[in-house]
Symmetry: C2
């Protein structure tokens, strides 16, 4: 069972009676019926790549872990409908490859795509590096098959772009982190495959200048802008130091690195010349200090490697706390400033690293400490709590989100509770109670145990 | 009060104590608090353009009509965030114009855009002629301000592209037709303004051939395909006969007319040459019989006039029943065939007219009868019920939706009830009960009165 008990960040250890691995939806239904009858807690698990403990079983009375990994069939690929219907246990990268072979794109793109499963991606409304163009998982699902806590199967595997038959239950399961039912299959939207790509890395001096570059790029490329990522100098240093086969494309060390990708489904589209023109304008206006355009797929891949290496880079770098915030785009500069200033004032010995999806407003903050900084777990937790409070205050002030794409799980329940209007929490509790009156479905996630 | 009592199709007449027209959100909240205290039913109304009676007050005990029309301010336009924040009572066309002046696009495009209000568009998850590219209203809303049935204001006017803080209450209000709360304001997503457009009308012999044309167009234009509409020959005849300034661009009368629009935010993009190439290929492969490409904005507008005139065309054409179905794209041909065959067999004296958004799978069926066909209302209702049963059976068989974009309102409650799994209806009732335990919020819509 060991592989099902520890999360990828090694922050939590589960306690469970057993791991159940059903082969199909009817077996999931049987398992849920039995557990519903006996009042046994069920924690669904996909690829176990979640960063907030949402799939880690930690219930008052140990229950079962329901792994979807054996359910990994592609049920149907419809090129006329531009849809693929998949079991929840399909690995994201496998889906990407299957549709690429059929000259289509499934645009969700995450660092964990080699092992995360689509059911988990849906349950957590995954985001990633292409949301600026394609949105998050919520925009990429047309239909869902869900097993309810009492074992009833809702067959909503519809391939429809328009469907207004009452309340949208599908959207409610998306992002509910397995607390309302078990997602067993989904119909996903496909897009035209990109046939022309331009990838560039840019050196900029500030987030405000990066936002001006974003404006330029959007004017020039419109709907073709696919990724607009940012990495701070300090974070890039940690990547270059700790991860193999990483090399900065710049001679001078920029305060911020921007990674920009433009794609077009028209193979004849000329993206290189307009990209050069945009960068020339940006240089002339002194918005950027330097820039490189990838001249081959290999060069593009090595620029992307710098971006995707950020998680590996901090794994052994020292004790750290990582955050997943979004704020409006017109507040990105002030968000970075306030974060540096307030965490720097409280923890001058820390390094504040930033990496994010600037194009969609989602910035990840990592606060990194020296290996010997904390005497023990309690000491670490106290610092972590102080940092949470600092970031929460900034996010609330700027009308942002304390968890942009990672979800709530176990990690952010207290932060959700204290930053959300009580009326909203009450509605969430009422929904939970309506779907799962016995409270057996992934209990203890998202909402704090109710005192009622 | 008269203008608030009759729906645009003149199918329903409301009964209400009064019309309340609040000036802002806090007045809406006060009204809801009072009604909640006294148990008075509240029916919210936007532009009164709904086609299923969703905004028509028909409650057991007369309540009030809550008109949002005085709340019509633009609260904020953020070009950095590509968002506009608007009061619920803003007219769709006014929003389109405001953002066009700022070189942006709000893509929702409906025949009723000159009078429908954005709050109603959101409450009904409106679709229209651009959903093939931009999705329905559900994909176009980032944030919502909602007044709950008890008067509590949920301020969710966030400008965020990523936000995973618990259950997505916003998505639940979208499409709930005002039965869970009153939408008072919204943050809408904006897109790059189109700078190049190609519009063409094509003559095709069958829906199956139209689907092959769709495949060709998608291969050639990918993400640039903005509209792909279809009008049957019989429906086009009714348009040409009944609406001023309409003229078919074809010499021969085609079995089906396709209206295709491609747009690009890049003004230098050449769309005309590839459009000609696609049409040439389609002609050579005998997929189409004829085609015209608009040579000016005026020509494009006159092609669109044929499409947008379909509602006016049947207004005085005779007694009719109109439907709003979607089926998967790979079932469009068989859907049209079965509909013609089964309605034709049962009502050989009727004309079955079809118009729809073929690119997103949404077909509108209008069954038109001679003016003197029905002896009275009962006779008409019996035929209407028989046609409902025929279409519902086909839609269920093909895994489609009985109400793709119009919603349920008063008109489709029985059809929703009999075509939906009981478990889903139960969940909808539980949600309704959680949000509106006193049942004062637009009662009698979507769900049938419960026997419980």
């Amino acid at each position: 069972m060991e592989g099902f008990l520890i999360d990828v960040r090694r922050s939590y250890r589960a306690e469970a009676l057993c791991v159940v691995q059903p082969a199909d939806t009817s077996e999931v239904s049987d398992v849920m019926k039995l557990c519903h009858e006996r009042g046994i807690a069920v924690t669904p698990m996909g690829g176990n790549t979640g960063l907030v403990g949402g799939a880690i079983a930690r219930t008052e009375v140990p229950g079962i872990i329901l792994s979807l990994k054996r359910m990994n069939r592609v049920r149907e690929l419809s090129l006329v409908d531009d849809t693929i219907t998949v079991d929840a246990g399909c690995v994201l990268a496998d889906i990407q490859r299957t549709v690429a072979d059929a000259d289509r794109l499934f645009p969700l793109n995450l660092s964990s795509e080699g092992s995360c499963q689509i059911g988990g991606n849906i349950a957590t409304n995954a985001g990633g590096v292409t949301a600026v163009r394609y949105g998050t998982m919520r925009q990429l699902v047309l239909g869902l098959e869900v097993v309810l806590p009492n074992g009833t199967v809702l067959n909503g595997l519809l391939k429809l772009r328009k469907d207004n038959t009452g309340y949208d239950l599908r959207q409610l399961f998306i992002g509910a982190e397995g607390t309302l039912g078990v997602i067993t299959a989904a119909v996903l939207k496909l897009f035209p495959a990109p046939k022309a790509t331009a990838t560039a890395m840019l050196a900029v001096a500030s987030v405000d200048l990066a936002m001006e570059v974003l404006g330029l790029v959007r004017s020039a490329f419109g709907e073709r802008l696919t990724s607009f990522e940012i990495i701070s100098a300090d974070y890039m240093d940690v990547v270059l130091r700790n991860v193999a086969e990483t090399r900065s494309p710049f001679i001078e060390r920029p305060a911020w690195n921007l990674l920009v990708e433009i794609t077009d489904s028209n193979g004849d589209a000329d993206l290189a010349a307009p990209m050069e023109a945009v960068l020339k304008t940006a240089l002339e206006r002194e918005l950027i200090a330097d820039a490189v355009i990838a001249q081959s797929e290999a060069q593009a891949a090595s620029l992307w490697h710098l971006r995707h290496a950020v998680s590996d880079a901090i794994r052994y770098a020292g004790p750290n706390m990582s955050h997943d915030s979004s704020v409006p785009l017109d507040k990105q500069g002030v968000f970075a400033e306030l974060t540096y200033a307030r965490i720097g004032a409280r923890f001058p010995e820390s390094e504040v690293l930033m990496v994010g999806h600037l194009g969609d407003g989602n910035m990840h903050i990592v606060v990194l400490f020296k290996p010997d900084r904390f005497a023990g777990r309690e000491d670490y937790m106290a610092a972590s709590e102080a940092i949470d409070l600092i970031i929460d205050a900034i996010v609330v002030e700027l009308r942002g989100s304390i968890t942009a794409e990672h979800g709530v799980g176990l990690s952010y329940r207290y932060r959700l509770d204290r930053t959300t209007e009580p009326a909203e929490i009450e509605l969430m509790r009422a929904i939970k109670n309506a779907f799962d009156p016995k409270g057996i479905m992934n209990p203890g996630k998202i909402l704090l145990p109710s005192s009622r």
